[in-house]
Symmetry: D2
């Protein structure tokens, strides 16, 4: 039987990527697409690559109408809108995977410090942080998923196993991340103007990005003590992809093999985390268009530091792909369904 | 039943793209990969994006060994090598799809003028030019396919219907083509050096490219008289994609609607040719990673000229995708099998 | 003695390029910069590359204030605004180089068909079309220059010598042009969004671009009969640069050497037009950041066609550089002053 | 009086950039260019952007011939070749600026551990490390300069003032650097192939790059105790530019203003180091083609860490520009001569 799903906010980049994956998913019927900006238009007129493949119209959002036609909803809206809509949808019995930050935090004051007042704080306890490989069990039975941010996904996957195993110090961890431009969304701005991006590499929101408290809260939970990492995001002149280089101090004389074994064991049986070979760093080109998170492991012996490199496609494992993986887990399906096309060689 | 196939020359860009498509094809078993340069290596060590997906070894080419293990062979070798190998493989009963120029020409002197002496000219009559939408019937029963060049594919698909219908003059046709860098192959050279490509746009081999006689021969056959187009290829600073802008003089007071209807009728029922909406030109971004050929139709009334724009992914419809489409036709399968993944929005 | 100049509209891309060139010009004092959007800001806060070099403030436009402080004005505003301002400035005795289309046409109905009603048509006769190498004498004494569009510059420079010499047919000329993204200006839009530009190549405004009548008018004047070329612009995923490939039918058995000699003679002593060596096409990379127009000459013997390739930097020879060259000519200076920095190797 | 200079190894990217700067330098006569690969060719045939500007021939290297015609030599050769040539040139009375690593180290064993046996270790004491803003006095009278590597330049300029002032801990400093592709040189390889670079971001030689001991030696000297930083270089899909993000622990309750004042004071009167405004990070786009090093200063209060961002053009301040700046200092000229063209806005 097919699960009927809707994508709310289908014409942003994350929304369109959801449409791509869901339109090819063998157990899903794409029942509705909504878009404020493009309502009334055929989806493939907005994204002509899908002409002949996804020719559904985009509709205005209507909770009532969705309640009749779908079982599960993907929300790909800007922060703030989801928390106004989700309570209503939950009451109508739908399960929800929300790609905004509105349901990612357990601690409402943390959310409110970095975003705005929360209008349904009581739902935060009900919501599950959808980091698929880490919170699988909770995800299974969740009705509402806070789908992780792209930077936190790329950072937490390599870090959590080492934190839980106590192989690294929890202090002075450096997270130096680099993202392609699609992470900035589809709305035109000087930041995304080709001529300002091209041949430009720069940090932004240095130690001041809202994904920092998101990482910190999850890490603190896993470490069972307050943690704070120093996080600096950068913009790379490319469309898709995110690379993160993490620096942490080795504890208890841990060496490269121990680090490698720890991560390998942690993700045993989980197909979307791939360890790179000895000495090879993660490369965004190798995960482009896929739901993989590649991880490279390196050690600076002289400084007793481990250096982790991780790469994801920010729109897939960092957004739409992980969202569909969450759906697969929620529905009791194989978690790879719809996500395992053979990757492009380049 | 699964058809067992091999890719000979699997580690070049066209070869790797064949591997990608065939590894995901529901009716095919990828039985062997050969590579001179990388023989002995695991394929995914050469293309790490496919780690965990295509972990077969690359072998040295051996006709005997292939004869035992496969039914059909894709050849993705440089010109000249295939004509030395193909006769042997045919005698062993294999069917062959060759991506080089060695079996694209009917007229051996044309081939020999632009390439080198041909070592098995008798096979040229047996070989079928694998322009799928045009020579479907011949392809069905062919044992050897000369898979079309990327530029000819992108040029012939929009032109042939109009030539056959007599809607345009056969003289003074201009074909102004632009290709991404992957068309130059994987061997490093100054031409493909990032710093020489980036922020560079230029023509090359002006009116002197070997795909010109290939187009001319096919067009002459379809027009039933000698034809020659003026063809200029250009290099675009991007990885994949090819756009062609064609200029031809309208005949018999043909107008835009007549042109549009002619092309639409010609490709009726053929899913890989898509007409763009009124006024919209073909865009390489919309066919990236797909087997589509998008066509835009425009008219310059003042000059009585039709302007056609066409876009393909040079590695897919311009090489590996069309090759697999040819295989599908040869095997009596739906021609879209393995080629209809939902396209990426960007 | 230094000429005092102002740039009106200094913070758009063409304006900023004017600032770059004029700030380094040995005979010019950059006396005022105006910007509606950024008035009150330091110029180098808008363009931080120039921090420490151009730290002047941007002002609101004021004709009175400019009349007191400057001798010559560069206008880098969108079409329509200049024609409202220019009459006033002329009356105050200033000389003007306008980068918009407002003063490029002789025939006001042509302008009005493609733009809007003209508010000072009487000035069109007074204005000189600033194609420096062609209209040098008229430019010397002009008070108002209509600085040519980028596409017309790149097209007219290679074509005019052949038209005047009668070496090519004036009919059925094809002009296939390709521009970098900076030509679209600095205002953010989906068209200039990095993710929509990157890995995209496409035609736009096919046979419907407003630079087409501009070319046609100039060519008609030079040919002394009505001319119309078929013009198709394309967008290239790069910041700067424009390449044009022109196809024309050879007349009177003209050959490659005759064509080459004609162009060489025409531009004798003019340092900004460079002929590429035999067989080599013009490349945008080789003119990046310069005021050069490189021209390549090729012949398709079988079709009796000449193929010209030309390359300019759309912001320099296609806009700000040519404007400064016009100023040099108007002031009786060496036309290369301020424009002859050694080009970057890449 | 003009100083006569030669560029040995003129056709690599650093060499060509030297040619660009020196050809426009007001106090220099470019007397000879040598190139093994292109000897006999006109320089502008190798770099056509300079056609009509630098039309000198490239010669084979000959110490005797150079001794007659030049006063000062820039060496832009791969490591190992310079140390074989330099002793000879010195004996002939020439002054030398070497862009390789051969004369950058004081400690010969450090060089030999990371490169190869040194053939003239006695010269290392004579050589001066050409970090212009730091070792100005020594450079003045030097006969041989070891021109700093690009990564060390971008790292040392922001770090040294803080190390000398004791404002940061000397341990656990993280240096996360990102370089454009031109840093890999002009020789084609898979690493520089456009299709492998484009849409790829990755670390390489993690904690294993030969610029690491170079930085460490200089820092140790300045700190007057052994120092080691953890250094990870990354490759960015762009031609020019290098960004470095440095993480260090604040000492003695130093705050952002103290850090800013320290760096500002240190570089007072030095035009090539620019501090970015409060909260703004350094951007490679803003230093492209220039000799500037832009520095941004940020603090992560929660972690008591300072985060420094620095940006240079790897071919200018990271190679040829700094080399010419060294020459200016050696010759007693204004250090900005030939290096102060107005930067491009984009």
């Amino acid at each position: 039987m097919m699960t009927r799903v809707a994508v709310v906010g289908a014409t942003g980049y994350a929304g369109a990527e959801l449409v791509r994956i869901l339109a090819g998913h063998p157990k899903v019927k794409l029942a509705a697409l909504t878009s404020r900006q493009h309502s009334g238009k055929i989806f493939s007129h907005v994204y002509p690559s899908m002409a002949g493949i996804v020719d559904m119209p985009c509709e205005e959002f209507s909770a009532d109408s969705l309640a009749e036609s779908v079982d599960l909803i993907f929300m790909a809206l800007p922060h703030k809108l989801p928390m106004e809509i989700v309570p209503l949808l939950l009451r109508k019995g739908m399960r929800i995977i929300d790609l905004s930050a509105d349901f990612r935090f357990l601690d409402v004051t943390l959310y409110e410090t970095h975003y705005q007042p929360h209008t349904c704080p009581e739902l935060l306890k009900k919501a599950v942080y959808g980091l698929c490989e880490v919170y699988t069990e909770k995800i299974r039975s969740a009705d509402i998923i806070g789908n992780p941010g792209c930077y936190p996904t790329c950072t937490l996957l390599p870090l959590i196993p080492l934190i839980k195993a106590g192989l690294i110090e929890t202090e002075r961890i450096i997270v130096d991340s680099k993202s392609g431009v699609s992470g900035a969304g589809r709305s035109p701005s000087l930041t995304t103007h080709h001529c300002e991006v091209n041949e430009s590499f720069k940090a932004y929101k240095v130690a001041d990005h809202r994904h920092n408290p998101e990482m910190d809260e999850v890490l603190s939970r896993e470490a069972d003590k307050p943690m704070h990492v120093t996080f600096v995001p950068h913009l790379v002149p490319m469309t898709r992809g995110m690379e993160t280089t993490i620096y942490a101090t080795l504890k208890n004389q841990a060496g490269k093999e121990q680090i490698r074994n720890c991560i390998r064991e942690f993700y045993k049986g989980r197909p979307f985390v791939r360890l790179r070979s000895e000495g090879i760093a993660a490369d965004t080109l190798h995960v482009k268009g896929t739901n993989f998170c590649d991880i490279g492991i390196h050690v600076d012996q002289a400084a007793k530091m481990v250096v982790l490199t991780s790469a994801i496609d920010n729109l897939v494992k960092g957004a739409a792909g992980q969202a569909v993986q969450n759906m697969n887990i929620m529905l009791g399906l194989d978690e790879t369904l719809g996500l395992m096309a053979v990757p492009y060689p380049l």
